[in-house]
């Protein structure tokens, strides 16, 4: 029996994961979410910004990481619009352009904001970190038009904004490279602008040194970070809904790890008793 457990077919594990992730979506547990300090840092900073201030959001994710990054971006935008802040969006991921555009329009419409006056979509900027460097020198050079092709001079939102230095907060929601670390390297280290953002859970752990050193104002790590932010703004949406599924799946994986270790030690003990290697 131990041998069978030790060599459990992957398909059984896959079915268990499917059940763990799927069932809570139909039968939610509705457990409260406690926001962590790195997430609260972003929320508190935006709450202190006065109406009319400008924030730049970079939607650095694609369809694969949309599920983690989009809820964070949406939650931040809702708070920003509620505070009367002006939001300029762009992306340095080619597949992020359509996603950024859809999200900006959806949240902007939901909050009753006007395109060009309250928010703007600058579209995709090629060049990865070089695009960020170009933005630090002059937005006009790299973004002469918005995503729809309209010259940016026609938009009142960009009056007084020439470079990254003119933004009061820069946020990047990143699904990988290029992303938050590049914004820290250029926007924070060279332009001395406050930088915050969110990322997929898998890369969140490597951004903690930047929080400790003060280079990153705050961080939303993965779907949990998004759920915490939705809780802070008082508008639980898809991230909060998905946390139950994530929680049960985590418990399943922890259980599988414990099971495999129990079986491992049991078989090792059995081998020692029978005089095996």
């Amino acid at each position: 029996m131990f041998w069978r457990l030790l060599n459990l077919d992957r398909k059984v594990i896959f079915l268990l994961v499917l059940a763990a992730a799927g069932i809570p979506l139909f039968f939610p547990l509705n457990i409260g979410i406690k926001p962590s300090q790195p997430v609260k840092n972003i929320y508190n900073f935006i709450e202190k910004l006065s109406p009319g201030k400008n924030i730049l959001i970079s939607f650095d994710y694609g369809p694969s990481t949309r599920i983690e990054c989009a809820p964070m971006a949406a939650a931040v935008m809702r708070q920003a619009f509620r505070r009367g802040l002006r939001v300029v969006g762009l992306t340095i991921w080619p597949e992020g352009a359509a996603l950024a555009s859809d999200l900006l329009k959806r949240v902007g419409k939901e909050c009753g904001k006007e395109y060009g006056r309250d928010y703007l979509d600058l579209g995709y900027k090629p060049g990865n970190e070089m695009a960020i460097l170009a933005l630090s020198k002059g937005i006009q050079t790299i973004c002469p038009r918005d995503a729809a092709g309209t010259p940016i001079e026609e938009f009142p939102i960009l009056s007084g904004i020439r470079t990254l230095r003119d933004f009061d907060l820069i946020l990047s929601f990143s699904g990988g490279f290029p992303g938050l670390t590049d914004w820290i390297t250029i926007a924070q280290a060279q332009c001395h602008r406050p930088v915050a953002g969110g990322c997929t859970a898998v890369i969140a752990s490597q951004l903690y040194p930047y929080i400790n050193s003060g280079q990153l104002l705050g961080l939303m790590g993965g779907l949990k970070g998004a759920a915490e932010y939705e809780t802070l703004i008082g508008q639980p949406e898809e991230a909060c809904l998905a946390m139950d599924a994530q929680g049960v799946t985590h418990f399943l994986i922890a259980g599988l790890i414990l099971l495999s270790n129990l079986v491992f030690f049991a078989t090792r003990k059995k081998k020692k008793r029978s005089g095996g290697a």
Binding site: S64, T163, G176, S205
Partner: protein, 271 residues
């Protein structure tokens, strides 16, 4: 920044600490390269590199190809360059043993460069005729499109040895698990800290962080490469010393109230 010439400084003093650091580091590397040309410098063995021979030999015995995945970024990424450098050595081994080498690339420029690197390796070993250009192919720029292609390649071709070298992201575990399911020996190397745990869990050998950059020096034993590697190590030792000294001094300044000292140290390390 709208600065007139008369207002602009010749030297940006805010970056003085960076300048001193880079100058010092460059001097260290230059010094060690000079020394490496005149005497042998010690480099410890890296397990993953020692296993390259074993991996290629295993593939030859089993009559199955070697699969080399050079990461998901372009040639402007330093990890990709390090991966291409290791590819040259792996290609020499596969040329010697007449084992097919498959190298799917995520960027077209990486494909062109990889083809040249492998071709040069085959020529160096005297097996120019065995070089098959089509074995080094471009799959897709898209992350998961590329992963789907590589997974398909693994399942169809069933390589006996798989190398994952370069920049990897979320797809690392998908690649490593699929490779494991084919029974191949897997050697991985990446400087992406977030992906290292997945490679360590799923692969037989892993080059961690800068071991990827050191690989080129370790494999070639070229004095310039070895010298620059030793220079890096010396730089690390200096940073380690600086961290320890700063921690001690700041602790003492907190205890004895030496605020001037604390401010000076913070100014030295300010970015």
């Amino acid at each position: 920044m709208d600065l007139s010439q008369s207002q602009m400084a010749w030297f940006n003093l805010d970056k003085l600490n960076n300048f001193i650091g880079i100058f010092l580091f460059t001097a260290l590397i230059a010094w060690f390269i000079f020394h490496a040309r005149h005497r042998s410098l010690f480099i410890r063995k890296i397990a993953g590199l020692s296993a390259i021979d074993e991996a290629v030999g295993r593939a030859t015995e089993m009559g199955r190809p070697v699969l080399y995945v050079p990461g998901l970024q372009d040639v402007d990424n330093i990890q990709t360059l390090a991966a291409l450098s290791i590819l040259g050595h792996v290609a020499e081994k596969t040329a010697e043993y007449e084992t097919p080498l498959l190298c799917p690339c995520c960027r077209s420029v990486v494909m062109s460069t990889a083809q040249e690197v492998v071709r040069e390796s085959y020529i160096r070993v005297g097996k120019a005729d065995d070089f098959v250009r089509d074995n080094i192919r471009y799959l897709s720029d898209d992350q998961f499109g590329y992963v789907a292609g590589v997974d398909g390649l693994m399942i169809r071709e069933k390589p006996a040895a798989i190398f994952f070298m370069g920049p990897f992201y979320a797809e690392s575990l998908i690649l490593a698990e699929t490779g494991h399911s084919t029974g191949a020996i897997q050697i991985a190397g990446t400087a992406e800290a977030s992906q290292l745990p997945f490679f360590v869990a799923a692969c037989d050998y892993t080059l961690i962080g800068e071991e990827l950059y050191a690989a080129s020096a370790c494999l070639s034993r070229d004095p310039v490469q070895v010298g620059s590697l030793k220079g890096q190590d010396a730089g690390k030792a200096i940073i380690l010393g600086a961290i320890l000294l700063s921690c001690l001094l700041i602790t003492l300044s907190q205890i004895f109230g030496w605020s001037g000292l604390e401010e000076t140290i913070r100014a030295v390390f300010r970015t």
